[in-house]
């Protein structure tokens, strides 16, 4: 049967670029859902800013993936024409926005990981990836600052905001373990990217410091969810992609 989907031949480098690209696009998509609905106008603008950064990163990473694959797939084909099972993003990032506390907690937990990851990737042996890292690191440093400031405000604000922030952390915590799954050994050996397990201490330090200021409890490490990198997602990704990919699936092959 005819399909509009593409198949991608995933080498370790292609897979790495797709993982990071899908992370950025899926989180950018979630943030863009806030546009026009945020608690204050300044936050409509700020969340749109973060989303724009992430969509920009996704575009560069898809371009890199397409180039590394060498099959002529462009950024839009990679974003719009892969199915749920081919998406490689972290489960954390596809979680629905929930309330503002959940959105902020999701952003903070991820930024506290991805910002040092990009910083460590600044000196990657792959020049394309290092160039993306140079820009992305500056952006994610701001994402970390912005989300940490809000988490502190919410945690140390009113009893209600404290409760909501704590609930958000508790709910998202089981999705944080996936960030630290090891990169492919060949990539680490070749110095293409930082190995996530090595960033755990940095992440712990950031999280502990901010949670202390926010007067929030660090949830206990229990069972950690996994599967995003292998395309086994939560039920939330399918509807997100149905929306994101709608036009390209309805009118395949059109130029936009």
């Amino acid at each position: 049967m005819a399909t509009t989907s593409i198949q991608v031949a995933e080498t370790p480098l292609v897979r790495l670029a797709l993982q990071r690209a899908d992370d950025a696009l899926v989180l950018g998509h979630r943030l863009s859902e806030w546009c026009g609905h945020a608690p204050v106008l300044e936050e409509d603008i700020a969340l749109a800013n973060l989303a724009l950064d992430l969509i920009g990163q996704a575009r560069e990473l898809y371009a890199l993936a397409g180039e590394a694959e060498g099959a002529g797939h462009d950024e839009d084909q990679l974003a719009y024409l892969r199915n749920e099972r081919a998406y490689r993003n972290l489960l954390l990032l596809e979680q629905p926005n929930g309330d503002f506390a959940l959105t902020i907690a999701r952003q903070f937990l991820y930024a506290a990981f991805i910002d040092p990851w990009w910083r460590a990737t600044l000196h990657a042996t792959h020049p394309g990836l290092a160039a993306i890292a140079a820009k992305a690191e500056k952006e994610t440093a701001y994402h970390l600052r912005h989300s940490a400031e809000w988490l502190i405000r919410l945690g140390d604000g009113t009893p209600e905001s404290h409760r909501r922030a704590q609930e958000a952390l508790d709910r998202l915590w089981p999705y944080t373990g996936e960030m630290f799954e090891p990169a492919e050994a060949t990539l680490v050996a070749d110095g293409v990217c930082a190995d996530p397990p090595g960033l755990r201490e940095t992440w712990n330090a950031t999280v502990d410091a901010v949670l202390a200021q926010a007067t929030l409890q660090r949830p206990k490490d229990g069972w950690m969810q996994t599967g995003g990198r292998a395309g086994r997602h939560t039920e939330h990704l399918g509807p997100l992609l149905a929306e994101l990919q709608y036009m390209q699936r309805v009118l395949p092959g059109a130029v936009w």
């Binding site: 696009l25 998509h29 863009s32 859902e33 546009c35 026009g36 609905h37 945020a38 608690p39 204050v40 106008l41 300044e42 936050e43 409509d44 603008i45 749109a48 800013n49 989303a51 724009l52 969509i55 920009g56 996704a58 575009r59 898809y62 950024e75 839009d76 974003a79 719009y80 309330d99 503002f100 502190i152 405000r153 919410l154 140390d156 604000g157 009113t158 209600e160 905001s161 909501r164 929306e243 994101l244 709608y246 036009m247 390209q248 009118l251 059109a254 130029v255 936009w256």
Partner: protein, 328 residues
């Protein structure tokens, strides 16, 4: 976006006396009035109303376009649309700031919007049904906004004039971007071209209404013109828009949905047909396709966000208390 020429003058005593004369003399000399300068109460109120309507329009205008951010057909278009809607939020922000220089708070103004007492441009009460609507809005709605707002860059009130200069730069970028979407669609597949024509059909007449009621019915023009809050008549701006837009539609190969439209060689203008002013008044009074929906969405965002704003205030209060304690 978007003023609409809706702004009626408050019916309070026209100012007279020496102060008022000096004020008028400054305006006649093209002086800018600044927040701390003396101004007639009527001038102040008229400006508050106009600037806040404009700000509300920017904010409500984020909704119809925001409707397509998650479904934009390419990553490039998605980023451009998100940036555009973000710009509109920024316009709202500096317009509220300009209104605040006249002694009202943003909270008061937002309260007027959410309670239905304040108006915003009628155009945003129409739905965005297809991707082509995003092109049509940029091309036509931002295009009409530019026609309305370029003259306001020389408005007599300094903060408003300066805000408009910045806003107009961004609106013309939006307009070009919208036109480029329409161009891509009209050069695309038959389905894309049909989508573009359908969007033009639905947005054309509501866009002509953006310039406000015909000059004969307009309540404000004399005083507003004398004060240089308004510089051209509604019909004059509308004609300018039609003259600029019709050739652009022809270049796209699209048909303006007005069978009577023709070029008047003698006058050098495109002559358009009868505008449905009943529809205009109905939409303005609250019975457009999306009025209730738009306000409900704004109210929900405001209510859902109340605990966040309270938390930010509570946290700021704690911080300043802590700083005071340290200083003591």
């Amino acid at each position: 976006m978007y003023t609409q020429g809706l702004n009626s003058i408050d019916k309070i005593a026209a100012p007279d006396g020496e102060q008022a004369e000096r004020f008028q003399a400054r305006i006649d000399a093209d002086d800018r009035i600044e927040p701390n300068d003396w101004m007639p109460e009527q001038y102040r109120r008229t400006l508050v109303r106009q600037i806040s309507q404009h700000a509300h329009s920017e904010i409500v205008g984020m909704l119809p376009e925001g409707n397509w951010i998650t479904r934009a057909p390419s990553l490039r278009r998605k980023a451009a649309l998100l940036a555009k809607v973000q710009d509109e939020g920024g316009h709202g922000l500096y317009l509220y700031a300009a209104a605040e220089t006249l002694g009202v708070s943003r909270e008061e103004l937002i309260d007027q919007l959410l309670s239905g007492r304040a108006k915003y441009s009628s155009i945003f009460n129409y739905p965005t049904l297809t991707w082509a609507d995003i092109g049509a809005i940029g091309w036509l709605v931002d295009g009409a906004a530019i026609m309305n707002q370029i003259p306001l860059c020389r408005c007599s009130y300094g903060p408003y004039a300066r805000a408009m200069i910045r806003v107009c730069k961004e609106e013309s970028f939006h307009q070009r971007q919208g036109y480029e979407i329409m161009l891509t669609l009209s050069r695309g597949t038959p389905e894309q071209k049909e989508m573009a024509q359908d969007a033009l059909n639905r947005w054309w007449w509501p866009c002509l209404m953006m310039f406000g009621p015909p000059d004969g019915e307009s309540q404000h023009s004399d005083t507003s013109m004398r004060w240089k809050i308004k510089r051209f008549s509604n019909d004059g701006l509308r004609q300018k828009f039609v003259d600029a837009t019709v050739p652009q539609a022809h270049f796209l190969g699209l048909t303006i949905p007005d069978p009577t439209l023709h070029f008047d060689e003698a006058g050098g203008h495109w002559v358009y047909g009868e505008i449905d002013w009943d529809e205009f008044r109905r939409v303005l009074a609250g019975d457009g396709p999306c009025n209730r929906e738009r306000l409900a969405v704004r109210r929900k965002a405001h209510e859902d966000g109340a605990w966040v704003r309270e938390a930010a205030l509570a946290y700021a209060a704690k911080r300043s208390a802590a700083t005071r304690q340290k200083a003591a």
